[in-house]
């Protein structure tokens, strides 16, 4: 089970020529003859010309994953509260609609969403010609210039973040959890004159920390690996997230396996850390999502 990872790590610290030497036993291939941590620095240096390289891709990935996670938690929790506690006409039909869409393949919605992002700058230019919607923006920080992409549309943070900020699955999971919270506390709070929003923020949310943590970890890790959507949204190297950056790196250094494996290690290490820290919630979250559904 761990053998592939071992192979990944040992390749990532080998001198460049060593991986192409023939060996008389696979064991010898698994143990690097000479450990070169330098490879990791090389990855960083070799990609720097690619729109900022690994450092920038890290930053993009962290930014996108964190904002998407927070956004999903907020929108899902609010919606889940409405679905589990508040009576309003059409509620159950809407909820069924949410459930129904969970089975729809990504490809179905991806095509119109791509068209939207592809065309939105044209449409906005017609609607509000006083803003230059098509121009990629830059910001100046500490004497350096950084690309930050368009405001909306292809090659924008907007495209990477906003369309994925809403989750039917998250809403469903949190609703199931909220349903399991006893109502006594809320009734007492209502008698004390608490409004619905206060009840939500002071009772429901604090009691749901485990569920929120689980959903948060799921969303974060899922986003860190997200590939299809960023792939069709991005062309500029400087806007890329790690998976895409790694892919362009692979395109340029296709046979430099030591560097490629070092890059892969750098990509998966944060996930391993997040997983090991959060694994207790993770496991219970998987069981919660499935069993109560």
């Amino acid at each position: 089970m761990l053998l592939p990872f071992l192979w990944m790590f040992s390749t990532s610290v080998k001198p460049a020529g060593e991986v192409f030497k023939s060996v008389d036993s696979p064991l010898k291939a698994l143990v690097p003859g000479d450990v070169q941590w330098r490879n990791y620095g090389k990855v960083y240096g070799a990609t720097q010309g690619m729109g900022g390289g690994f450092a920038r891709w890290y930053l993009n990935s962290v930014l996108v994953a964190v904002v998407v996670t927070l956004g999903q938690l907020m929108t899902s929790a609010c919606a889940a509260y409405a679905f589990s506690r508040l009576q309003f006409p059409g509620r159950d039909k809407l909820f069924l609609g949410y459930l129904g869409t969970m089975m729809i393949p990504g490809a179905v919605t991806m095509i119109p969403n791509f068209i939207l992002m592809r065309k939105i700058t044209d449409w906005l230019t017609v609607a509000a010609p006083f803003v230059n919607w098509d121009a990629p923006r830059v910001i100046y920080l500490f004497g350096h210039t950084y690309d930050v992409g368009r405001l909306v549309g292809l090659d924008s943070y907007f495209a990477l973040i906003v369309p994925v900020m809403f989750s039917a699955y998250g809403t469903f999971m949190l609703r199931q959890f909220f349903m399991s919270i006893p109502r006594d506390l809320e009734e007492a709070a209502t008698i004390d004159g608490c409004g619905l929003f206060r009840i939500f923020t002071t009772i429901i949310l604090p009691l749901s920390k485990p569920a929120l943590a689980t959903l948060g970890i799921f969303t974060f890790l899922g986003n860190w690996q997200s590939f299809y959507w960023p792939l069709i949204m991005l062309t500029q190297d400087s806007m890329k997230t790690l998976p895409l950056g790694l892919l362009s790196f692979m395109g340029l250094y296709s046979t430099q396996w030591t560097l490629l494996m070092a890059g892969s290690m750098m990509m998966i290490l944060p996930m391993i850390v997040v997983f090991v820290i959060g694994q207790k919630w993770f496991i219970s979250g998987i069981q919660m999502g499935a069993l109560k559904g």
Partner: protein, 306 residues
């Protein structure tokens, strides 16, 4: 009074729902409808869309590539039963109260967590015909008579893996097995096993049942709802799967051997700008997923014990 209170609750309900609902409408519901509409048009994003009625669907029926890639998709899904049985087996091993089990659980779950471009790259390297780990193991650790014997049958050996029409699919399937066997399914099986009361096994022990009999008479029926659930989910996932690995590892090759429907849709939509045809294909895929799920509920429901 009661009326206004109910009215206020309803208003609050809509307000709480609003942000999510807007996103849901904008990026899920409307796109679903739009893509259905799009499937009746021909559109390359530049010239104006042209209404073609059912033309895209009839083209699809006669598109040999589509059927070939549909076959590939189903072929890659043949691992599903193996993956599920593997997960069940692992869960049964984990269910014994051994020390350090959490460490093993974490270890087996790791591939599921990190699956993505990083691990696809890793497996490309593992499957490298000349310097990869797998062929090193095959040439050095398998006995000579076995290696010679296999190649005498006319099988390509040691395999060229990802660049071989014969071996590319099995290579991806083995990678999938490694990725998912200790993942979500195993955790769900573990939970199911922990719900089985130990008295059942004790009673069976008294009756002198052996391990195999206990498995078929107690474990298998009692975890069947979980088996059913994970099978359904794997089916849904499998039909839409194969894009990321094909894109990163094989570009759908060699000679289309690892192109799945989702990769074909990607090519039509985003490489060749055939928006209408891709939308039609996406809807056919959706129908297939829906049908598979319904069939599964209809017939699978009979063998499940709740």
């Amino acid at each position: 009074m009661a009326r206004t209170k109910r009215g206020r609750t309803a208003l609050a309900g809509y307000l709480f729902l609003l942000p999510n609902l807007l996103g849901f409408l904008a990026f899920t519901l409307i796109p679903v409808v739009v893509s259905l509409g799009l499937s009746f048009f021909e559109w390359d994003l530049f010239s104006p869309p042209k209404f073609v009625g059912f033309h895209n669907f009839s083209t699809l029926v006669h598109d040999h590539d589509f059927w070939r890639y549909a076959f590939n998709t189903v072929f890659l899904m043949l691992t599903i039963p193996v993956n599920i049985l593997g997960s069940l087996f692992l869960a049964m091993v984990m269910n014994q109260k051994l020390r350090g089990i959490v460490v093993f659980r974490t270890m087996y779950f790791l591939p599921t967590i990190v699956m993505g471009v990083g691990t696809y790259l890793l497996w490309r390297w593992i499957y490298n015909p000349d310097y990869g780990l797998i062929n090193a193991i095959i040439t050095h650790w398998l006995p000579r008579w076995l290696n010679d014997g296999i190649s005498r049958f006319g099988v390509e050996w040691p395999p060229q893996w990802l660049s071989s029409v014969t071996w590319a699919k099995p290579a991806l399937m083995f990678m999938t097995f490694w990725t998912v066997v200790g993942g979500y399914n195993m955790i769900l099986f573990l939970a199911a096993l922990q719900g089985v009361s130990p008295e059942l096994y004790e009673a069976a022990d008294i009756d002198g049942a052996n391990r195999w009999q206990k498995f078929w008479a107690i474990t298998w029926p009692l975890v069947s709802p979980t088996t059913f659930f994970v099978f359904t989910m794997s089916l849904i996932g499998g039909l839409q799967g194969g894009f990321d690995q094909a894109y990163v590892m094989t570009h759908g090759g060699p000679a289309g051997a690892t192109t799945t429907i989702s990769y074909y849709i990607y090519n039509h939509a985003f490489a060749w700008n055939h928006m209408g045809y891709a939308a039609a294909m996406a809807w056919v895929l959706f129908t297939a997923v829906f049908a598979a799920t319904m069939l599964n509920w209809r017939f699978g429901g009979r063998v499940v014990h709740y």
